[in-house]
Symmetry: C2
Subunit: 251 residues, 2 copies
């Protein structure tokens, strides 16, 4: 892993770096509980004129000196989750000069990366992960929390905009190629879980009978000899996604 | 329009700007002749160890101090073509540290923008325009040429990569929403022109009879009382795209 090199630059530039756009990556990490779509957010603690505050932000980082964009995003996610193989896609870059205008964000950022910052162009990434996976933060700078997509409140910088663009991207991407749905589902999932995910992602109620017809006709959804345990309603069967069959059909 | 402000920075930093990533936009401008898909490229003249050379590059620019990414892309296109209303979409950012590694590119860039450059992260844009439109370059720094997409040779920087990613993007975008096809076609077009465009964009031969059936059933394709003139083969009818009908159906 590369070392953080930005601090060296302070000596050279003595604060004049405000003229330059810096480049960062920000990651919108989606997870699905079976019922709700969540994103992974970090708590940010800072000091403003009104005292100490806590709010939330997307995981992200300024790119290192010799680092490609994708590598920076993988680094952030690896440090955050300990996971190495992550479904990750660049989706949009955000460069409004106003995105670091809030004094709170500016102060926080300058404390965090030890450079005077004028503006930052950030490259947005979407990651889809199985929410049940144990996350093992490699770096203690991250205190991550799964937040319900409908209840995220006001985030730092333009991160609300980034989240809404990310959701739009995921929708259109999964219409085109639904494989990402199975990145979000657990390894064993029920028909109702896939149906819920469909409804949330595409923002439309699904007809249960039509869905069932389609579900049972998909050759890459393989029924398992296992059912739910200890549930109040009738125990539902588990299924798994077969990537090999899927790729044979569509790749 | 904003002034170019980068030159000021030389005084402040005396060449140490190599540590910073700069940010630029690059535009892949597609046009369609009725038979061939073309992109708009600029001739670049530079001096290398082997003497003066000419090659081609995408139109682009470093972003100005207070400029958003989309604004930078619109500025480049406006200066290049004189056109103000352009179908323009950001599609991908490119940030490999190696993308400015070729000494030829490095020297050219430093001469062009008068800053010592370490690396540049560039935000890629796709524009679709009607090739018949008169292009009126506002700035004389651009000498643009329509080049056949299959014959573009080796471009500056990583611009071949950007072009191939742009083509991929256009393909998937137009599957989802074909409205972009009509940005590329002239105001009056023939069925064969739309069919050719389909074949080129989606990379597949189209069955003429099936295509005709579909073509004549689309309510937003309106036949005109005009036919081709002075053609060797049977004169074909012209059609126009009706955006209002299209939007009523799909938006």
């Amino acid at each position: 892993m590369q070392e953080r090199k930005q601090t060296i630059e302070i000596v050279h530039f003595m604060g004049d770096t405000t003229l330059y756009p810096h480049v960062s990556v920000d990651c919108v990490v989606f997870g699905f509980t079976g019922e709700k779509l969540k994103i992974l957010l970090l708590t940010r603690t800072g000091v403003s004129d009104e005292g100490v505050y806590n709010d939330m932000k997307l995981p992200g980082s300024v790119i290192y000196e010799n680092e490609d964009l994708d590598d920076a995003a993988y680094r952030v996610l690896h440090e955050l989750t300990g996971i190495k193989n992550i479904y990750l896609q660049q989706f949009h870059s955000f460069g409004s000069p106003g995105r670091t205008q809030n004094p709170r964000d500016k102060v926080w950022l300058e404390n965090a990366i030890h450079i005077k910052i004028g503006r930052i162009v950030t490259v947005g990434y979407v990651a889809l992960i199985k929410i049940g996976q144990k996350l093992q933060a490699i770096s203690n700078q991250y205190e991550a929390k799964w937040c319900d997509i409908d209840e995220i409140g006001i985030l730092a910088f333009d991160h609300n905009l980034i989240v809404s663009k990310a959701l739009e991207y995921v929708r259109s991407k999964l219409v085109e190629d639904p494989i990402g749905l199975y990145e979000l589902l657990p390894k064993r999932f029920t028909e109702a879980e896939l149906r819920n995910l469909h409804e949330i992602i595409f923002g439309q109620k699904v007809d249960i009978r039509n869905f069932h017809k389609k579900f049972t006709s998909l050759p890459y959804i393989v029924p398992l000899n296992e059912k739910q345990q200890n549930v109040a309603h009738r125990a539902a069967r588990f299924y798994r996604f077969d990537k090999i069959i899927y790729n044979q059909l569509y790749r």
